[in-house]
């Protein structure tokens, strides 16, 4: 039982760390460019930052659509 727990624990740690590393190094919004209506950020943390600031939403296609003009500002009001 103890060995099983330790094995599953190690597998999960490796899996979690791999996903985290992949997310940090990959792009969350493939094809996102600096065109109007799209977020300029390509990395997942940056895209997350902009979504967190109620600046955009990710569409089913994977592209993050920009909703506000200045996504770097902190949210002035509740996004909902």
């Amino acid at each position: 039982m103890e060995k099983q727990r330790a094995t599953v624990f190690l597998v999960l740690i490796v899996l979690g760390a791999s996903l985290l590393a992949y997310g940090l190094s990959s792009t969350a919004a493939p094809g996102a460019s600096s065109q109007q209506g799209q977020l300029s950020s390509a990395s997942e943390p940056a895209a997350t930052q902009e979504v967190a600031q109620a600046a955009g939403v990710q569409e089913p296609s994977g592209q993050v659509q920009k909703k506000e003009a200045e996504p770097t500002k902190a949210p002035a009001a509740c996004p909902t």
């Binding site: 330790a6 899996l15 985290l20 997350t48 967190a52 600031q53 902190a74 009001a77 509740c78 909902t80």
Partner: protein, 277 residues
């Protein structure tokens, strides 16, 4: 013997901290509420705290799960924290849990919801966090951010107040969100942690790791006298003797106050001591 002594020291740390849990939760607010204006919304903390809050340091993992189709960072982070600590953050660090614990201090009659209601958390996670935002978009009126009471209290309320103080047009949250928040605000005085026990989608993700996490509760059957004290100590209607790493456990560690030492916090690094003949 050295291993046993080390395990005892480890358990002793939590035994000393346990009476100050509410203070520790309060201290964690300094991390979540951006005390020096730090905004790291690109990363999530494993706690239920709306990123729309004017003082939020980190992004909300549930909000991020709802917003993104492939949130590798959030999923990776949830697996890491879950695998390391299970639901320990729920009991000791979550600001939304802290609010509910604070309300539970008010001396009102307390009721326990039926145990099966805990499974509703899976429904909330599957339907309102993943399915609806994934199929219909985050702006669907039933997606989690549109109905979340944490969002109403931490983001919408400051927003409404600032609009009112600035004598601007006030944008109220939608009726469903206000209703859920109203029910929540009443429930926290009569049920201990109603959100965490019945609806929290983050809690159910983290607690799903309780049975395999590196940090866990060890039950020593040899020391147990089946006095039932641990069951009485648990405020969340769990029987720690039967299920020390239960799916509904928030790891407040109240049950470890068993004076016989039958329930102790432990980790995968601490091996089970040999049974006393």
């Amino acid at each position: 013997m050295a291993i046993v002594a080390e395990r005892t020291r480890f358990a002793g740390v939590f035994a000393r901290l346990q009476p100050y849990r509410l203070w520790i939760q309060t201290a964690f607010l300094a991390v979540w509420l951006a005390p020096i204006g730090t905004r790291l919304h690109g990363f999530c903390a494993p706690v239920f705290h709306c990123y729309g809050c004017p003082l939020a340091t980190f992004g909300c993992p549930i909000g991020m799960l709802a917003h993104f189709t492939t949130p590798f960072i959030v999923v990776g982070m949830l697996i890491l924290f879950g695998a390391l600590l299970g639901s320990l953050f729920c009991g000791w660090a979550c600001p939304f849990g802290w609010l509910q614990d604070l309300a539970a201090k008010v001396p009102t009659p307390k009721f326990d919801p039926p145990r099966w209601l805990g499974h509703l958390r899976f429904v909330v996670l599957g339907v309102f966090v993943l399915a609806i935002p994934g199929l219909f978009g985050i702006e669907h009126p039933l997606s989690i951010c549109m109905i979340c009471p944490a969002g109403a209290l931490e983001a919408a309320l400051p927003s409404v107040l600032s609009q009112a103080l600035a004598i601007e047009q006030v944008f109220w949250p939608n009726t469903l969100k206000l209703t859920i928040t109203g029910i929540f605000l009443v429930a926290i005085f009569f049920i201990r942690r109603p959100w965490c026990r019945v609806l929290c989608p983050l809690g159910v993700i983290l607690a799903s790791f309780n049975r395999v996490s590196g940090f866990f509760l060890r039950f020593d059957r040899g020391k147990c006298t089946t006095c039932g004290r641990c069951t009485r100590l648990c405020k969340y209607n769990i029987d720690p003797e039967q299920s020390p790493n239960d799916l509904r456990c928030i790891r407040c560690l109240e049950c470890t106050r068993c004076q016989l030492g039958a329930l102790t916090p432990s980790t995968v690094l601490h091996r089970r001591p040999p049974a006393v003949p």
